[in-house]
């Protein structure tokens, strides 16, 4: 081939390649709706698909693992996506179980036929060991986390600026805490802009442990022995106070199904609500419930 023609061919080839790849990329994502968090849908393949809250996810995975050990023919897939995705996934047949770490709201209730409370989780409030306060009311917590109270002396502690530690937006733990304390009101999360944000329970624990005058919140299952927990409205967080409702900052773990639930799904849920399943719940640090159906 003559050099000029070859050069043109090479350039043409390059252009075609780039455009093809770009076109494919465009087509694939041009729809604009990103797959939120979880990888592609696979509804058809696994027998049971659980999608939704990332707080529930580790528990679901543990339950699925023990269940599949005894039932080798069944395939259970666990995805995340957040409580907000639970009912959506059910509706679009991506999931057979929607997992939530909060109660259903009204718009979701109509799409769901049955809801099972599979566990409960408390959210403990922790402070640094140098903080002299042992008890806080929900109102005080709300004021601290919205920035209205900034000094420990206002709630009975020393004269020191409160270092507020929060979880990131979208965290189920954050949602539970802000809802129950009133920081979340009228669909608006009023957590103060000055709050330090850490993206995991471990990070919150570490930060509160090492930062004087700090306050934070973590799932009850993850409270480590070297941080100080405070009472809320006079009640210490524990399994019993969550179950009897006296510890206010708590959230339910829910499995929601539609009437299209297949037999594999129903069998799995039966396992989860049984003593064996609830033992797993406890083993993973959450609070087992007695059979409760809504």
């Amino acid at each position: 081939m003559k050099p000029e023609i070859r050069k043109k061919a090479v350039r043409g080839l390059a252009a075609v390649m780039i455009m093809t790849v770009a076109a494919v990329g465009f087509a694939g994502c041009g729809s604009g709706s990103a797959s939120s968090g979880s990888s592609g849908s696979s509804g058809g393949n696994a027998d049971v698909v659980i999608a939704g809250s990332t707080s529930v996810q580790p528990l679901s995975e543990a339950l699925a693992k023990t269940y599949m050990k005894d039932h080798s023919g069944v395939d259970i897939e666990v995805q995340g996506g957040g409580s907000g995705q639970a009912v959506k996934s059910l509706k679009s047949n991506i999931a057979t179980i929607g997992a939530l770490s909060r109660d259903l709201d009204d718009s979701e209730k109509s799409s769901v036929s049955k809801t099972y409370t599979i566990a409960k989780d408390g959210v403990a409030v922790i402070v640094n060991s140098n903080v002299n306060v042992d008890d806080l009311t929900l109102a005080q917590l709300q004021k601290i986390y919205t920035g209205k109270i900034t000094n420990w002396s206002k709630v009975g502690g020393d004269d020191a600026k409160i270092a507020v530690v929060s979880r990131e937006e979208g965290s189920g733990t954050r949602e539970a805490f802000t809802t129950k304390t009133g920081v979340l009101a009228n669909d608006k999360d009023n957590t103060t802009k000055d709050a330090i944000v850490q993206s995991s329970t471990g990070a919150v624990n570490k930060t509160v442990k090492s930062t004087p005058n700090s306050i934070g919140y973590v799932s009850l299952a993850s409270v480590s022995s070297d941080v100080k927990t405070v009472k809320v409205e006079g009640v210490s967080p524990s399994e019993s106070t969550v179950l009897d409702g006296t510890y206010k900052i708590q959230r339910p773990f829910l499995y929601a199904v539609t009437d299209k639930a297949n037999s594999a799904t129903r069998a799995f849920i039966k396992y989860v609500m049984s003593d064996a399943g609830q033992k797993q719940v406890k083993k993973n640090g959450f609070i087992p419930v007695n059979k409760t159906e809504q």
């Binding site: 990103a34 600026k161 990131e168 965290s171 850490q198 993206s199 090492s210 005058n213």
Partner: protein
């Protein structure tokens, strides 16, 4: 040319095309995902808005841009003199063998994963900065999670880049220049500052650009130690949030609108990097071409 060479040529061309295609694909993907968010919020409100609160529908990223710029600038302010000093030490002061030992240590720094840097920062640097802040500005209640902590850790992370490339640049300065300088009666300090560093400046400058790129793109380490507070920092002891840290932290939980906004942050980051690199090219061309 025979067919074998033609085939190889085509093969390596495909390799090159793949890299170009990858860059093109990533760029197009980010823009496609993020543009809807920018269109929805409005470009001006997005880039200059001061409230980032996606669950409440606010998508202003100015605090994030400020945070990224602050820690990067801080990293350069700390890292450039330290890195250059180190490079001069290794190439001009110590013997080859001693230099080898130092260089291995510094290169080891480059291999440490960024999450480990983050934990190191959290465990060691943050308390130190908290103590310093307590001494300098006791009423501020600084926690140590701050711009300064981020800048220090980033400076350590970019040190290997700056040192390695600068050392190579300095060592490639012809010995003839050194000899000429000594023969004229200059001492070592003058020779290094007036002859060698200027002669090595284009390589040194590239090392700084590379370091800056690494600092701006760093995610895990800053996520752990800057506090992730989406407020424009008012002092080096104040906590802040970076664009990269915010994207990483919120991506897994994000609802579709929120997720598009995070991609939009990616667009802004991309544009900023392109601008900075372009600016650097211009400066390098001016600098490198003209004689001192």
């Amino acid at each position: 040319m025979n067919t074998r060479e033609k085939a190889i040529e085509k093969l390596i061309f495909i390799c090159a095309a793949v890299s170009v295609a990858a860059v093109a694909l990533i760029t197009i993907f980010i823009f496609a995902q993020g543009m809807p968010a920018i269109q929805r919020v409005g470009l001006f409100r997005f880039v200059f808005g001061t409230t980032w609160s996606p669950t409440n529908g606010s998508y202003g990223i100015l605090p994030l841009i400020a945070g990224s710029m602050a820690v990067t600038l801080g990293a350069l302010v700390i890292g450039i003199p330290t890195g250059l000093g180190c490079a001069v030490f290794l190439s001009e002061v110590v013997t080859k063998r001693q230099a080898g030992f130092f260089r291995s240590a510094i290169e080891l720094l480059a291999g440490i994963p960024s999450v480990v840097y983050g934990f190191f920062g959290l465990a060691i640097i943050v308390p130190l900065v908290r103590g310093l802040a307590g001494a300098v500005a006791p009423d501020a209640g600084a926690t140590g999670l701050s711009v300064l902590s981020g800048a220090i850790i980033l400076a350590i992370m970019i040190l290997p880049t700056i040192v390695s490339i600068s050392v190579n640049s300095i060592e490639s300065v012809p010995n003839a220049y050194r000899e000429a300088s000594y023969a004229l009666g200059a001492d070592r300090r003058e020779t290094v500052t007036k002859v060698i560093l200027p002669a090595a400046r284009s390589g040194i400058f590239s090392s700084i650009i590379l370091g800056m790129g690494r600092a701006i793109g760093e995610t895990m380490a800053v996520l752990l130690i800057t506090g992730n507070v989406a407020v424009v920092p008012h002092s080096i002891f104040a906590p802040t949030a970076t664009m990269t840290g915010t994207i990483a932290m919120e991506m897994s939980y994000a609802a579709p609108d929120h997720q598009q906004a995070l991609f939009a942050i990616g667009i802004v980051l991309f544009v900023i990097i392109v601008i900075l690199n372009g600016f650097a090219q211009v400066v390098m061309r001016r600098f490198g071409g003209a004689a001192a």
